[in-house]
């Protein structure tokens, strides 16, 4: 919670607990929403694809943040639950004999998104069961098992369906929400923004509820939480369910961006990436997910831009120097690892902490009301 500007204070709990507590914050949020809406008119399609990739990572990392950052349950197999969501949604859209009126009304894909969330949530609970007994390193092993088992099942059982032996391409036009056919970058982008806003608000509200406080209590000290009457098994499993639900939504969204689903999209690298995102963004912070996702995607993007700018010069005028661009590319792969190391050493609380400090600097200037 940030400090409030000088002279701003509340006289009721309801006011104190508001989402947007001052007019300035309200204005800031309205401006942000307007910016999100206007983005396709401001930037080109290539940036929209960058933005919806960031949004996909936000959706996927939400569950990781919930488990690690708010409930203290370490997970290294989150891509498995995203895969469950992606495959559930894709297979429902492609292979279920839907009545024609539902297809025409564009209800199939929205229903599949909800089903993907629930399926991934239940699948996540299954692998969350050991969390009742084990902690830390052992839990890492069980969540990693989710990764291997899920992908093995997907590859051996699901990929064979539909006659392609491997991946399902989704024909243009099948991803439809009501009359809205998702077939272009701006539509994918808007869809991702809507999902991210809904999921972030849902997560924020969950954390303000009894359930969220129980999760935080478990994270801070599970024995103390249990002595206070928190049923830690139930709440841990609930955390796994909700995290899986968000992952399912992420998976269901991603098929609309790719028009394609393949086990390759859910490799273990992504599970690590999403943990990296919350480390960079800030563990135990919703804003951290946004900052971390943006940082990771933008690092790759900026490296791409710099290498291609360099190759503009080299490839055309000095082709014999083209190898320089190839060598630089290897840095791109280590950039993510280096970023994590850098953040763990110099910014262990992540980008969200830096943002919090900046906000407080302005709020506390020159004096503030701190309630003392």
């Amino acid at each position: 919670m940030s400090y409030l500007p000088c002279g701003t204070y509340f006289e009721s709990y309801a006011d104190d607990q508001k989402w947007w507590r001052t007019n300035f914050i309200k204005g800031k949020m309205i401006f942000m929403v307007l910016l999100l809406v206007a983005a396709p008119y401001i930037v080109g399609s290539q940036w929209l694809s960058v933005f919806y990739t960031i949004n996909y990572y936000i959706l996927a990392a939400l569950g990781v943040q919930l488990l690690i950052g708010y409930c203290g349950q370490i997970t290294l197999g989150h891509a498995a639950f995203v895969a469950v969501g992606g495959y559930t949604s894709a297979m429902m859209v492609l292979f279920l004999p839907w009545p024609q009126f539902m297809v025409d009304a564009g209800l199939v894909y929205p229903i599949s998104i909800v089903c993907a969330g629930f399926t991934a949530g239940l699948w996540s609970v299954l692998f969350g069961l050991p969390s009742a007994r084990v902690k830390g390193f052992y839990l890492i092993m069980t969540t990693m098992a989710a990764q291997w088992i899920t992908l093995r099942l997907v590859i051996t059982q699901l990929s064979k369906i539909g006659g392609r032996e491997q991946s399902f391409p989704l024909p243009p036009g099948v991803i439809k929400i009501g009359p809205w056919v998702i077939d272009s970058d701006d539509k994918i982008y808007y869809f991702s923004v809507i999902l991210v806003l809904i999921c972030l608000i849902a997560m924020g509200n969950l954390l303000r509820s009894k359930m969220g406080r129980a999760w935080i209590a478990i994270r801070d000290n599970d024995i103390a939480a249990e002595t206070m009457g928190v049923n830690i098994v139930v709440y841990k499993l609930l955390a796994f369910f909700v995290a899986g639900f968000f992952a399912g939504i992420a998976g269901a969204f991603w098929i609309s961006a790719l028009f394609f689903v393949s086990p390759e999209n859910y490799e273990w690298f992504y599970s690590l990436l999403w943990v990296g995102i919350i480390l960079i963004g800030g563990v135990g912070s919703i804003q951290g997910i946004v900052f971390g996702s943006a940082f990771v995607v933008m690092v790759f993007k900026l490296l791409e831009m710099s290498v291609l700018s360099l190759s503009d010069v080299l490839m055309v005028s000095y082709p014999e120097w083209g190898w320089v661009t190839t060598k630089i590319i290897f840095f791109k792969e280590s950039a993510f690892g280096l970023a994590i190391i850098f953040f763990l050493i110099y910014e262990p609380n992540g980008l969200s902490y830096r943002y919090w400090q900046i906000k407080n600097y302005f709020n506390l200037w020159p004096f503030s009301y701190t309630g003392k």
Partner: protein, 417 residues
């Protein structure tokens, strides 16, 4: 006065550079230099860059230079998507060159919607049916035809003739095939359905598939399972490093089945890595090797030394010449379209579909391939499978099989899978 001359020169130079910039054709290339298939990807990317340099040095596309944008995507589909969008919107590319099956298939709906001609290193049979993927092109025998040809070549020349399998033949045993590949990889699994279909066609039994990762460092359990199934021939669907692991483990565990690999599965690295274990392995090469004496290979070698002198020639592989083949096909399409005065997607597509009995650089047997014929009904450029084999530590031409002539009734049905 001198100031005026200087200003005039500056304006002239600017005008010239603008005119020069207008005389460029932007081409995008998405490659894997750091990911799971970088063992073969790096060499292929070198070939792409060198061939573009050669084309630019020898007159470009009807006098216009190719401006190549080559970037690594680490074999990660999301990155390929964002790179493509940049190429399309910012760099205004006229043609896209892609690498993997996963990213090519993932981008296929998008490039078809954008009408962007794409030539991929993924020769997946799924990408050869213009009815489904009109803007996807491949530059060699597709994976499925290659796998069919490879198995057919082995069956007719090795199983039926070699002393190794004489006792099994005389005992009336049917040969048995086992597939080693990464189940999760669209690239590795692309021709599996086809090779099993071919096995049924030839009367070859099929054992349990074995999952071997593209980055495998050990395949002993898979080898033992195949040995238990008494397989006589192994189809390796992965890239060279992973295939080398499986072949070495087979040798160590005395599993003496013959080895067939996909076209990215056998190269000089594999020969180096496997030594005696790799003897007899067969694969369908897309073109000749850099050392082979075929037309235009001297240019390939010349540009290897000119553009990338830091890479020793003995480290150069068939993938370099594959890069040349890919770019030469792209250049052929661009040239025809440019001559007709239009370089948009449909024109480049029509240009590529007009290629009949085409050879790279319009020179017969250049790079050891051809002739190619691409039509608007069939994007499989050639039915000829050129099989190479490791013999005494060298990769030599084994046999060329024309699958269309050999299986005329099935050829049309095989399109697109």
């Amino acid at each position: 006065m001198s100031k005026r001359i200087f200003l005039f020169s500056l304006v002239l130079a600017l005008a010239c550079s603008m005119a020069y910039a207008a005389e460029e054709i932007s081409v995008g290339s998405i490659n894997d230099l750091t990911g799971a298939t970088s063992d073969v990807g790096k060499d292929a990317a070198l070939g792409v860059r060198e061939c573009v340099a050669y084309i630019n040095d020898s007159g470009g596309i009807n006098g216009k230079k190719i401006k190549l944008r080559l970037f690594d995507y680490g074999y990660r589909v999301p990155e390929a998507i964002t790179i493509y969008k940049r190429f399309r919107d910012q760099d205004k590319i006229k043609l896209l060159m892609q690498w993997g099956t996963g990213d090519t298939e993932a981008l296929s709906p998008t490039v078809n919607k954008d009408k962007m001609v794409t030539i991929s290193d993924s020769m997946s049979g799924h990408l050869c049916d213009p009815a489904k993927t009109p803007y996807n092109f491949v530059y060699s025998t597709d994976y499925s035809t290659g796998a069919r040809g490879c198995l057919t070549g082995w069956y007719e020349n090795v199983w039926k003739k070699s002393d190794k399998w004489k006792s099994a033949r005389e005992a009336g045993k049917k040969p048995k095939l086992v597939c080693f590949y990464m189940f999760a990889s669209p690239y590795a699994s692309a021709p599996i359905k086809a090779i099993k279909d071919q096995a049924a066609l030839l009367g070859i039994e099929v054992a349990r598939d074995q999952d071997v990762s593209l980055t495998a460092l050990d395949a002993k359990s898979q080898v033992l399972a195949a040995k238990e199934d008494e397989a006589n021939v192994v189809w390796h669907g992965n890239t060279a490093m992973s295939v080398a692991t499986a072949i070495k483990d087979s040798y160590a565990l005395k599993f003496d089945a013959d080895n067939l690999t996909n076209l990215w599965g056998l190269d000089k690295n594999l020969v180096r890595l496997t030594g005696k274990a790799g003897e007899g392995a067969i694969f369908p090469a897309p073109c000749a090797f850099v050392e082979d004496e075929v037309p235009y290979m001297d240019k390939v070698r010349e540009y290897c030394k000119k553009i990338n002198p830091g890479v020793p020639m003995d480290k150069r592989d068939v993938h370099t010449s594959q890069g040349w083949l890919k770019v030469s096909l792209a250049a052929a399409g661009l040239k025809i379209a440019d001559k007709k005065g239009n370089l948009d997607g449909p024109s480049v597509k029509a240009a590529l579909e007009s290629l009949k009995d085409w050879y790279p650089f319009d020179t017969k047997n250049a790079l050891g391939v051809g002739p190619f014929t691409i039509t608007d009904k069939d994007h499989r450029p050639t039915p000829v499978v050129s099989l190479y084999r490791i013999k005494d530590g060298k990769i030599v031409l084994f046999e060329k099989i024309n699958m269309k002539e050999k299986f005329p009734e099935q050829w049309a049905k095989w399109l697109g899978w």
